[in-house]
């Protein structure tokens, strides 16, 4: 088990390195550089030259990459080309905001989805089951911005005016209401798949021999479902939940943009427009780390839930 975690840790590092190389070359292919993007129409040759010099953009790209990589290894992410502020200062608060947003979405979306999954499996083919099936199918067919816009219409601008439609850029925790609609959008985006997986896996388990045996032994239904059913499902569902969580790190870009939420998503869109390489790199690395950590945790959970995997390394 420990060896597996250790191995995965090093693979993770290698993946991060590959991500940084890919991002670097992708941004090299983009037409125009930061100086051009910052000045826009005002990019006269003289002004471009001055700004390029100030931003240290000229020079061999490979050397630039190497300089960047060596400072990142010392946990120095450089300064933003767009405004000269340290990337760490610029993104620190935004990363926290995005993590809070994803956390809120996961903590509401995943448990609710698990509960609904269990309920639909237990009362399958009932009214609830059919209703949930229709709703999850519709939700999973809709892109996030449609869900977001509908929620805004419903709760903020149209039918009811009870929640803020967009974020006003204030720190998330000083005004938590601004998080409700984006978190709800993300929760609705990840829940359908988990519900359907949970339902299918739970049905298998409920029909398995050991559950039948437990029932015949006279255990109460609650114990059957929760102690024998749920525990055996969790391993499989942890993987699905992890996939959906990892998806959140990408999905958050669109949702943050729609709500003007001050997280890494809006920062990434802006940084690409500005060709602000240090910021793009830092955000992509963060998203990659998030993916890797989530998958690592999910694998560890699966291993822990499955005795065969848990003891395989011995």
């Amino acid at each position: 088990m420990a060896r597996m975690v250790f191995q995965r840790f090093w693979t993770g590092f290698f993946v991060l390195f590959l991500v940084s190389v890919c991002v670097f070359f992708a941004t090299q292919i983009l037409p125009g550089d930061a100086a051009q993007a910052i000045l826009g129409r005002d990019a006269t040759p003289e002004r471009l030259e001055i700004l390029r010099e100030q931003l240290q953009l000229s020079g061999n790209p490979i050397v630039q990459y190497w300089t960047w990589l060596s400072s990142v290894l010392q946990l120095d992410f450089g300064t933003s080309l767009a405004n000269g502020r340290p990337v760490a200062d610029l993104l620190g608060a935004r990363i926290v905001n995005s993590l809070i947003l994803m956390g809120a979405a996961a903590l509401t979306g995943i448990p609710a989805a698990l509960m609904i999954g269990v309920m639909t499996a237990y009362w399958r083919d009932g009214v609830l089951d059919h209703g949930v099936t229709v709703v999850t199918l519709v939700l999973s067919a809709l892109p996030e911005f449609v869900i977001a816009t509908s929620l805004i219409l419903l709760f903020a601008t149209g039918i009811m005016k009870v929640l803020p439609a967009t974020s006003t850029g204030s720190p998330v925790l000083s005004y938590p209401l601004q998080m409700v609609l984006p978190a709800l959008t993300l929760a609705l985006a990840i829940a359908p798949y988990i519900i359907r997986m949970m339902r299918a896996t739970m049905i298998d388990v409920l029909e398995s021999d050991y559950v039948q045996h437990a029932r015949l032994s006279g255990l109460s239904e609650r114990k059957v479902v929760f102690r024998y059913g749920l525990v055996n499902v969790l391993g499989a569902v942890a993987q699905v939940a992890a996939l959906q969580l990892a998806y959140l790190a990408g999905g958050v870009v669109v949702v943050e943009y729609v709500f003007g939420f001050p997280g890494i998503g809006t920062a990434l869109v802006d940084a690409v427009g500005n060709r602000d390489l240090p910021v793009i790199q830092a955000i992509c690395l963060f998203i990659a780390v998030f993916y890797i950590v989530i998958n690592l945790v999910a694998d560890a959970l699966t291993a822990f839930a499955n005795p065969r995997v848990r003891h395989a390394g011995r």
Partner: protein, 474 residues
């Protein structure tokens, strides 16, 4: 207050306003020597007078007394001299520098505490226009020893906090020199990258004022008594540009054909949702010399076909490069492609994102687009029509025209200068490379209790963002 188009590159540094959000913030933080009022007439600002002598080669600026910077320092002519030097410093690469390049470097002379004299290398009759411009190349007065990290101006509001691309909080300058305003205690400006997010913020009562309402949202606002629509006629224009130095647009018959190809009325209806007016290829409609008497060009397919046939370009095709660098550009390009097809002209639309546009296509493509705000004629030509202009989109080079325009820069008599402008515009009407199909209205929204924001011809949102005028009624 909800702004659009903010970015991490936003800056409060008076040397340049790179984004519209920068203009909004800087117009409240700094003041100018003169300024255009909502009727596009020049009014005194920090200067009581700005007067020419010696055939417009010498300009004398007389400052008003008793003005203080946010740090308590009194405004003097030395600060204004510092401002010009700051903008002209090549290290700062300020966009205003191009307009001031004729100032003799040794000719910035502090006469007394409140008087500054500037000597120009050649006559410069439009200096008042330059210092009154409230746009991205505005001359915003800063104190001697100015530090952009701690931006201090004389403006109606002081910086409390600023987060580029996100928001800023300004507080009222209690020592402001004007008697009318500022009235509100705090001014919070919030950036919204997305148009609908900005409108949603207004509809859910998160902001009191919104800059640049998309035309298609106008009906929602008009129907709602909780909001006031500020509909400003402006001199702003988003023309198509034809490069006059390369085929096929080096042939004036092709340019004339393209100018007769565009259905201006339809453009105004489709692209501007009716909120604008038809233009006649020339620009600077508020210039005293605007050649309004030239016959209005209308769409004329037969004439287009015959002109193209004469030029040997029957059934021609061309690439039209567009980019969402300013609102309305892409829809206008799409509409033009449709209209051209009626005359058998095939336009291939190529849409690129802004950074790509400016690095590879702007000033290069034979057929493309540009965007400009309200300007008087001669000032506008400095930006994009003179031989040394940075943005000569049409690669315009016309000796007869240039002679007239140069005379205009020397002419201090307003009436005579207007005559020269009219003559220059007539030449451009006959053989220029712009297809200016319309002047667009600026649409802004304020909540019903916001007073003082009025329509402004200057083409900058929310009365040129002069929030000192705004107050809240109960």
């Amino acid at each position: 207050m909800g702004l659009n188009a903010g970015s991490a590159k936003d800056s409060l540094d008076a040397k340049h306003a790179l984004t519209e959000a920068d203009i909004a913030r800087q117009n409240n933080l700094y003041d100018q020597l003169l300024c255009f009022n909502p009727d596009y007439q020049i009014e005194p600002g920090l200067a009581e007078t700005v007067e020419a002598s010696e055939g417009a080669t010498v300009w004398t600026i007389r400052l008003r007394s008793g003005v203080e910077f946010h740090n308590g320092k009194a405004l003097t002519a030395r600060d204004v001299a510092f401002t010009f030097k700051y903008l002209l410093d090549p290290k700062h690469a300020a966009p205003a520098a191009a307009r001031l390049s004729d100032i003799n470097p040794k000719g910035i002379e502090v006469v007394d505490d409140l008087t500054l004299r500037l000597r120009f290398k050649s006559p410069f009759s439009v200096f008042r226009d330059v210092v009154a411009d409230l746009g991205s190349a505005g001359i915003r007065v800063i104190p001697e020893g100015y530090d952009p990290a701690n931006p201090v101006g004389t403006g109606p509001f002081k910086v409390q906090s600023f987060e580029p691309g996100v928001r800023s909080l300004f507080v009222r300058n209690e020592n402001y020199w004007r008697a009318d305003g500022p009235y509100v205690d705090e001014l919070e400006m919030i950036n919204f990258t997305d148009d609908s997010a900005r409108v949603n913020a207004l509809l859910s009562d998160q902001i009191d004022a919104l800059a640049n309402l998309p035309g298609n949202q106008m009906r929602i606002i008009e129907a709602n008594p909780a909001y006031k629509l500020i509909n400003s006629e402006t001199g702003a224009w988003n023309p198509f540009t034809m490069r006059m130095d390369v085929a096929p647009f080096d042939d004036n018959r092709v340019r004339q054909a393209f100018r007769l190809l565009v259905n201006r009325e339809q453009m105004v209806q489709q692209v501007l949702a009716g909120q604008g007016s038809v233009a006649n290829d020339i620009f600077a409609r508020y210039d005293p010399g605007y050649a309004a008497e030239l016959p209005q060009r209308e769409v004329d397919i037969d004439q287009v076909k015959s002109l193209l046939k004469q030029a040997g370009q029957e059934g021609m095709s061309a690439e039209l490069v567009t980019s969402p660098v300013s609102s309305g550009l892409v829809p206008a390009a799409e509409a033009f492609v449709q209209q051209a097809s009626l005359a058998g002209v095939t336009l291939k639309l190529r849409q690129v994102e802004p950074a790509t546009f400016f690095s590879q296509f702007f000033l290069v493509s034979p057929l493309s687009q540009t965007y400009w705000g309200t300007r008087n004629y001669l000032l506008q030509t400095m930006d994009n029509m003179l031989p040394d202009s940075a943005f000569n989109e049409t690669h315009w080079a016309d000796d007869e025209w240039l002679k007239i325009v140069k005379e205009g820069f020397r002419e201090v008599d307003d009436a005579k200068r207007a005559e020269l402008v009219r003559a220059a515009q007539t030449i451009e009407y006959e053989r220029g490379g712009f297809i200016n199909w319309g002047f667009y209205n600026k649409l802004d929204v304020v909540k019903a209790n916001v007073e003082g924001i009025v329509p402004d011809k200057g083409g900058i949102a929310l009365t040129s963002y002069s929030f000192r005028r705004a107050w809240l009624s109960s």
